[in-house]
Amino acid sequence: MRRRTLLLGALAAALNARAEPQVIRVEAVKFEFRPDRLELRAGVPVVLELTAREVAMGFSSPALGLHADLPEGKPVRIEFTPARPGEFEFVCDVFCGSGHEDMGGVIKVLA
């Protein structure tokens, strides 16, 4: 009985490891990210799918080591696994117009 439990546990872990990471879609529009607050879990892989629909933009979170140029109209994927809990800012780092400097958000990583 104990052996069967262990086997089931190993199977569940393997399936979990193979599960596709959650995809979170974020739109970059003049001049905000939608959504601009993301909640993730430490140790859980995730894919951010970022799309700038109007003009080229950028996505940068130096504290998380994330960066992507977002060409106009073409989704860009960033796969990563948050390592530690905390709140991490992100900004648009490609000058996109008059509201560029206010364009940012926060990734909250839960334990």
Partner: protein, 294 residues
């Protein structure tokens, strides 16, 4: 004014106060420079002509007042540099050109006619410097003045805030003509080092420019962008940012957003200003000035 000596400089700078002195050391063979090699220049930055908003209800007169203050100097500088964001950004190319034209007219009132300009992202990032170049020519260039080699680097015409491979090659070729002991001053808009990338206070490939500059033994960088004084060293290279002439920004990371500091009617123009930079031997002395005298 040509060949100002330090005593005169301090006198000129007296009302602003000498707030920073940069000692670059120097070797004995160059220690006894003549006064003919001493000079000073003025740095104005981030004038954001065309800005309208609560952070500066006097935006229409701030730049003219600064021009008036520079013109009132007893001895005029050898030249005046503007380290970018001459105008405030607009999505309308016609308005951009109108602002650039107005800016050019206002700074045309400066007594010193030797102006060295460069763009900021507000001037150049939305059209890759097209309008800026129509008014002021190339955004990167170099020139020599009394024993100092000045290099203006453009890290804003690329909206991603990079210098770019082509310009880096130009920089490499320009530096190749210099002796390793040459006095080099780099003028640019964004910081070349990652001052605070969370607020986009960096140059994407600034590390490559610094790598090219590293073999030079005497390099000082004057820049703008962050609307406040900041003094920093990467290895032996000094970096000095200037105040703005539109609104001050918070110290890096001191608040959640890089929003402008509020205008204080009791102390108008607080946090704004321009500076004199005296170059003598291997020293640069910076004297900060307010927009208007207290």
């Amino acid at each position: 004014m040509h060949g100002v000596n330090r005593r005169n400089f301090l006198k000129v700078a007296g009302f602003g106060g000498l707030v920073f002195a940069s000692g670059l050391g120097g070797c004995a063979s160059r220690a006894a420079k003549s006064e003919a090699d001493e000079f000073y220049f003025v740095q104005l930055s981030d004038t954001h002509w065309g800005f309208q908003g609560a952070p500066n209800p006097d935006a229409l007169v701030t730049l003219p007042k600064a021009v008036e203050a520079v013109n009132a100097l007893d001895e005029q500088p050898d030249f005046i540099v503007f380290t970018g964001d001459l105008t405030h950004t607009t999505d309308d190319p016609a308005v951009r050109r109108k602002r650039l034209a107005e800016f050019k007219k206002i700074v045309g009132e400066l007594k010193t006619k030797n102006l060295r300009l460069m763009p900021g992202e507000h001037d150049a990032s939305l059209d890759r410097g097209e309008a800026y170049k129509e008014f002021f020519g190339a955004p990167n260039y170099s020139f020599d003045h009394k024993g100092v080699h000045f290099i203006a680097l453009d890290n804003v015409s690329d909206p991603a805030g990079a210098i770019g491979g082509q310009q880096l090659e130009w920089l490499r070729a320009d530096l190749a003509k210099q002796d390793k002991d040459s006095r080099i001053v780099v003028l640019t808009h964004r910081p070349l080092f990652p001052l605070y990338p969370q607020w986009d206070w960096a140059t994407k490939d600034g590390d490559k420019a610094l790598e090219l500059l590293m073999p030079q033994r005497n390099v000082t960088v004057f820049y703008g962008h962050i609307h406040q004084e900041h003094h920093f060293k990467t290895a032996h290279i000094e970096h000095h940012s200037a105040k703005s002439l539109i609104f001050p920004l918070p110290a890096p990371g001191s608040q959640p957003k890089r929003a402008p500091l509020a205008w204080d009617p009791a102390q108008p123009y607080r946090g704004l200003g321009w500076r004199e930079i005296e170059a003598a031997d291997r020293e640069y002395k910076i004297a900060e000035h307010p927009v208007v005298k207290a």
